[in-house]
Symmetry: C2
Subunit: 765 residues, 2 copies
Amino acid sequence: MQQSPNQPTPGGLVLLPILYMVWSETLIQDQENQAFITFLNQADWLSEEDKKFLREKLSPESPPQRQEMEFWWETITSAIEESKTYPNLTSLGIELLRKAAPEVAYTFPIEQAEKELSDLEKELGIVGKSAALSFKSSHSNISTRYETQVDFDVSALTEILDGQRKPLIDALKTFLATDNFDYIQPDNLETYRNQVLSWCRLLADKGYGAIGYPEEYGGKDDMEAYFTVMETLSYRDLSMVIKFGVQFGLWGMSILSLGTKKHHDKYLKAIGTLELPGCFAMTETNHGSNVKGIETTANYDHQSQTFTIHTPHQDARKEYIGNAAMHGKMATVFAKLLIDGKDYGVSTFVVPLRDEEGNTLPGVKITDCGRKMGLNGVDNGLIAFDQVVVPRENMLDRFSAVDEDGQFQSPIASDNKRFFTMLGTLVGGRIGIPRSALAASKSGLTIAIRYGDRRRQFGPEGGEEIPILNYRMHQRRLIPLLAKTYACHFAMEYVTNRFLQRQEEEMQEIEALAAGMKSYVTWQNTATLQECREACGGKGFLSENRIDALKNDTDVYTTFEGDNTVLMQLVAKSRLSAYKEQFENMNLFTIINYVASKTKTSITEKNPLIIRNTDEDHLLDSEFHLSAFEYRENSILDSGAKRLKRLMDEGMDPFDAVNVSQHHLVNMGQAYIERVILEKFIEKTDQTSDPKIKDVLKKLCDLYALYQLETHKGWYLEQGYMEGVKTKAIRKMVNQLCWEIRKDAVPLVNAFNIPDVCLAAPIAL
Amino acid sequence: MQQSPNQPTPGGLVLLPILYMVWSETLIQDQENQAFITFLNQADWLSEEDKKFLREKLSPESPPQRQEMEFWWETITSAIEESKTYPNLTSLGIELLRKAAPEVAYTFPIEQAEKELSDLEKELGIVGKSAALSFKSSHSNISTRYETQVDFDVSALTEILDGQRKPLIDALKTFLATDNFDYIQPDNLETYRNQVLSWCRLLADKGYGAIGYPEEYGGKDDMEAYFTVMETLSYRDLSMVIKFGVQFGLWGMSILSLGTKKHHDKYLKAIGTLELPGCFAMTETNHGSNVKGIETTANYDHQSQTFTIHTPHQDARKEYIGNAAMHGKMATVFAKLLIDGKDYGVSTFVVPLRDEEGNTLPGVKITDCGRKMGLNGVDNGLIAFDQVVVPRENMLDRFSAVDEDGQFQSPIASDNKRFFTMLGTLVGGRIGIPRSALAASKSGLTIAIRYGDRRRQFGPEGGEEIPILNYRMHQRRLIPLLAKTYACHFAMEYVTNRFLQRQEEEMQEIEALAAGMKSYVTWQNTATLQECREACGGKGFLSENRIDALKNDTDVYTTFEGDNTVLMQLVAKSRLSAYKEQFENMNLFTIINYVASKTKTSITEKNPLIIRNTDEDHLLDSEFHLSAFEYRENSILDSGAKRLKRLMDEGMDPFDAVNVSQHHLVNMGQAYIERVILEKFIEKTDQTSDPKIKDVLKKLCDLYALYQLETHKGWYLEQGYMEGVKTKAIRKMVNQLCWEIRKDAVPLVNAFNIPDVCLAAPIAL
């Protein structure tokens, strides 16, 4: 049996809260013990009885028993007055004394005790007021009370996001929410791939597949609708999206864009109905980014007027080809055209792969790519051709042709230009993919933010646990990503419109925009889903909550349709030249003509009053944000151009010079894209008429801007564009905006309006 | 038929290289055309015939035909002299004229032509020397020639990495390389899980499972060996590692650490042989990080001397429990001990789950967690207890017990302290997991770096394609991660040793070190594998190359054994107090006793000569690196302590104050860990005797240090610790070190000495 606790002496009562506090944290080791001994030796206002009691209770050798601690706790908490504020533990001790022995308290040297004990508290590192609070049964704090509020009309925001395409989006969402599209386990590859094919057939039957094709081929000639469909489908299984994109986008659009009427008439209708599943066979094992280097050959035979398609070696096989492993009947094959042994560069050919029964045709060898990180419902494969003969009309002859006399013909004289014009027609993929990525980010954020709003963990001493989204770190992890997703949404809307309304002379700019946004958004998506996974903890690791699939299926988005790092360099090259029509092929030594006209503004912006300005009005001023983004964009462009020129002037090989500047070029591309995104977000916010929605969009826009400024603060400080006092103020403002937007976060993800059946994650429903 | 190209006039020859260059890039639009017209109007040294020819060839309306362009190319390249250097395109044009018409050249106004044409070249933005190079059949550049070199003894570096554990590591690697451990497809969960169990049995049979247990229970009492085994196993299937850790670590070690001799005697041997598979049932659906809040109860019945284990509601089920869904026979269950209705806090109990045949026992309900992002070979499950009765001796009674009289007993009076002492015994998991993560990073880097060394893509005009690891961006993506992995390796070696040689009074520091390294290394691992995936492009997405599994299996490492964000805050709290024994339970209002002693040094370090010092010697000086890391560590600690104290002094609720400072606290933890890592890396480098290995380790160590300084440059600039000129010099040095280490990169990953069979990725073999 434990011995029962002794009643504290009067002086013991005064020190009881301190005693309890140090023992509850087992603080008493040498350092603290020394502080206590010094204190006890000096405190002449304590009686010998007090000192005896305290020495006993403070001895590190005989810590108080559990029962004694409980007794102390009860003694303290029963004396405390909930309505009172105690500035330190001593004042609490004196309250104890007053309640237990009012007669002693009357003569007790309170002032002296308070002074000496406050020194002791300081010595022990105790923050008295806060420590005293912990004895109260509950105490009010902001972190606990804070919660979701719906301050704006969520469906009105959905309408702004969906725009004119709302009817199409709503109809497709309703269709996707039927049990036709119920998710299936990815365990068995064959089952999964066949299921995905069936889903695509359902979509084709409803006319979604052909929607971008001309009306005479069953379509609606509506490319915007096609992009909208790609994005909306992405709220469901992502293998379905990619299979859809391979069939109706890559395969169908290659026929449409690279072929001529005879090909359209022959294939397009059957492609749009999925009667004719096909592939887009461009990439080879040894040549991905560098398409120009592909080695598959198409050798023209004058006699028979045929091409012989051939794979010269293993590593020249077509690889990662969607629809190849199981379902594809034909393919658009990229190959080097040879006439009489002379190489006329990359051209495209329609090559049959399988017969009606699905058997591969003679000379065609297809190998399954097997299991992948994600997108396992897509049947990617390797294709090798062993002298496969196709007739002359199978050449897609819009940009290069062989005439009846066996002569090469092309409307574009330059091989380079022809090649990049051909690829340029496929730029649509660089719009479809980031829009699909955006949808995946929206799904991930909806899941993580709803979960963060309801998941509770930890809380103040004695209080209830609080939603994890009330934690500042959790906000910092998710809220800026929400702002970025909104920002990218409006920017993709802009890029889509530019693409749809494109004029020939704008193509270089639009290609750069699409390439840059594809990189930016897909990187952003990978980062967002990774953060969502971690923010949902163990629940985020369970496949049932779908962050798994969202992340893994979209992971390759940063690679396909152009590796992001390569694309960002292309964007930079395009920025270095104001006037090139096709930018992918630019040799940098002919394009360094950038004139640093815009950076002249920097001098006025480096006004000392501005570089140190930390006024809230200034920090939340969109003009400040945009000019800071523009400054970065132009400075990096300017210094990059000068650097390249200097290196080459100094005699460095141009290839080396570009290589040395690669990191600079990638930053150049990013800075450009970020400026475009911010500009479009500001415009969208300005155009919004509903004041409450405008208000929340302005906050998101500010957060996007300031979060990026914080991310790049090292650069701005290096440039002298801001001083430390300002970057620190920006950090605080980012925290503040995260805190403010947190209450809007659930309504903001609800505005994405993703059907619960599609979202499917139990933690988010 | 195309018309055959006309022979250029003499003046046309001089301009031919410019003509070719602008057309090959289809430069000629309004702006350029204007430049040409102006030039032609002025150039009185050209004949009318020349001007006619040039006007014709420069017309944007009639671009040259393909055949003409080819003819120009041949004309130019056949005249060029490979050994000569041409400062611009004009000098090349004059060479053409000399070769074709020496008599005309003799009287040609060369000087005037050169002057006016060089203006034209400038106007067109052409860098002449580089442009002239492109006509040569090949030109030397550094990016092409650079390659892997083996400058040091790879196996000697392996010995340094493996240290004294080399024999154990080698033996286990040899065993793992047998076909017993061949990877299997993860398609079927049941098959995969049973396979993983079989693998663990093979390991148990060899004595690896019990290796950390006392000898009387079949072990070798060698915890270091246990950690080494966990790390080495991680070169193979990671589900096996986690299953192994659940069985022999979590389940076995909980019996060893929380139980007493009677439990050891009864269970430990059977656990070590895997005769008795078991679980560690701590986490509940509603309580993960906040273990103290678990709701499972263990109600003591005095009459029968038994505990009734009960799950009060769905969300109090044990969740994510490894070994639960299929194989576990028993579990260590964490539950709140109730005696006569009074709550004595969290205790642990051995609870049987399944009978010999594997059927769940009455009252036990187990639900499969199903498919996960990774680790699908581990059978995680949910466990619910419906009034399950276990005898008194099933309580693991090292820290809390119920005696024969039904009285609660504990050697530790404070509930808080008992709880955290109990959890503290499990700190080993926070060493095992980051070591496993490191192995995964090493596998990922070996695959990505070997691939980067052999994968070729793009190259200089007319030259062969170059290894992608020769690209500066690719180096920037992978080489700093390689440096970090080496850095973390040596730091984990240090933390392991500290743990093995721990004294009671060091426990708080060691717990903080382990918690911090667990977070740092596992975050690092996630980032590394994500980068490796992307750096390998499409190949990285194929499961056959294993980055998929490496990434997804280890993704949850940032969550389990303590959520990283939570752990980093614990590290910070520990740093805020110099003397607390157990830090997880600290209330911040009793620990703000940090004295900013170290930050005094900052004044001397902010010497203007130092903050602007960009000398190479200084930038590569380890003392500079370490003092910069220490400055950051101490400044953040100091400002964090002051900030918390100020907020609480101002009357902010302590919980709110901590919440407001959360981001600061996480940075505090990271800055501490980074300093430790750097310090240990520097020590290791200094201790290395082999001069060539020392040299390469020094480079890696420098890169680690400078890369982190670059990462945090915003902070250093804000503080005035460095000026922009210095941070820019650091960036350049990072690029330079990446370039230098690139040639060592393959030998450096080879030194990890991962068996090819384990690595398995076709792209890396």
